[in-house]
Symmetry: C2
Subunit: 231 residues, 2 copies
């Protein structure tokens, strides 16, 4: 069993324990990994199943397999991260990748007061999430969504969650301990949160956490806050 | 005073409290920030001094200033991070940038057993470090070096330091608390540490810390370990 690579097969593509691999994986299976029919690979359907798959067809254009074993992997704690959108796409995609590696279960990309006008490209975000899930060997595909404001995010997710806002004026992270409650983690865009956004967070009983004396970029603050919330 | 940008002036370029700005900053001062003689900017010399500088010359080709105020900024705790070299240069530079933001004081890039053969480009590393120092508003320029092996790193830095190795077989990070001693933080390259490297770490009384059940890329593990060591 080659445990280095984990393939992703959407659950709707699995019929009676058999599947065709997505087109973009076929070259990887045949040319890169040099797998043949009869060889095994590991895959997940993103719903928590870790699958041992026997390849039954491998040629230049297609690859098919059959599940020979399936294990349920526990989901781990819920981690909701709401992050202000940043204009630099490489940094945005990096933030998405790192959030997935560090255990985010729901990623909310927010058009916040200081984000400026920008368009999110869903296909790029999805591709980055799937790639990071495979790379980090997670078996649960994180979900993501886009929201028009942090106020929307608070309205949707504050109930039964501790709201944690990364902000230079907060308590130092050494003095902060994530509670047992599920958390809504919030990280601002370049330029940080607006006064209005902070006021709305205060009205939602948010805890403000200071991630140190250095000014952090958005993607760095996201990494640090997810780590502190418990990797 | 414009506190958004922090300029870097190497100490050897400051004579009797006056300096010429480096060539690559001149356009930034004049064209981007639209500063003129008589305006003020903030700068650091990387030795802990935060400087208020009055511009005395700004034209298309040069810019000069004079220090009107200087404050000593405390250095913060020592953070030595030794990281296995990774081949993808964008990820390596990202790791360097994030390490600086998250407070590294000495970054050791290591040709480790699983790093493969690669050449470090010092000018790229230095540029990335300076850029991240300015961005994160640090006033102490982190130092960096290249080492041929983790064994070299241990020999050079284990004395009087707690050796912390990020490894899936370690204790979970929830059960680990960074001590008061200075630490030598070690993160492996893609593919992790070799058995020999782990044995050498054990012989140096290393603590092994597990950064969670997800497989983390090198740069992600570096972010997480620096965060746990205390941002």
């Amino acid at each position: 069993m080659d445990e280095h690579f984990l393939f992703y097969i959407p659950p709707e593509d699995i019929r009676e324990e058999r599947m065709w691999f997505p087109e973009e994986e076929v070259r990887h299976i045949g040319k890169v990994l040099r797998k043949q029919a009869g060889d095994f690979v590991q895959a997940t359907d993103g719903t928590g199943r870790l699958l041992d798959v026997e390849l039954i067809v491998v040629d230049k254009k297609k690859a098919a397999g059959e599940i020979v074993q399936s294990r349920e992997i526990s989901a781990g704690p819920e981690r909701v991260l709401a992050m202000g959108l940043i204009r630099q796409r490489d940094r945005l995609e990096f933030a998405v990748e790192k959030a997935v590696e560090l255990g985010v279960t729901r990623l909310v990309l927010v058009h916040s007061d200081h984000s400026g006008t920008m368009t999110v490209k869903p296909a790029r975000i999805e591709k980055t999430i799937i790639s990071a899930m495979k790379q980090s060997r997670r078996c649960h595909l994180p979900v993501w969504e886009e929201r028009d404001s942090f106020y929307d995010v608070l309205s949707a997710y504050r109930d039964n969650r501790t709201v944690i806002m990364a902000d230079p004026e907060g308590v130092t992270s050494r003095d902060w301990h994530p509670g047992r409650n599920p958390a809504l983690l919030m990280v601002g865009p370049e330029g940080g949160f607006s006064g209005k956004e902070k006021d709305q967070a205060i009205a939602s009983a948010a805890q403000f956490v200071n991630l140190g004396s250095n000014r952090l970029r958005t993607e760095t603050a996201a990494c640090a806050l997810l780590t502190l919330a418990g990797v």
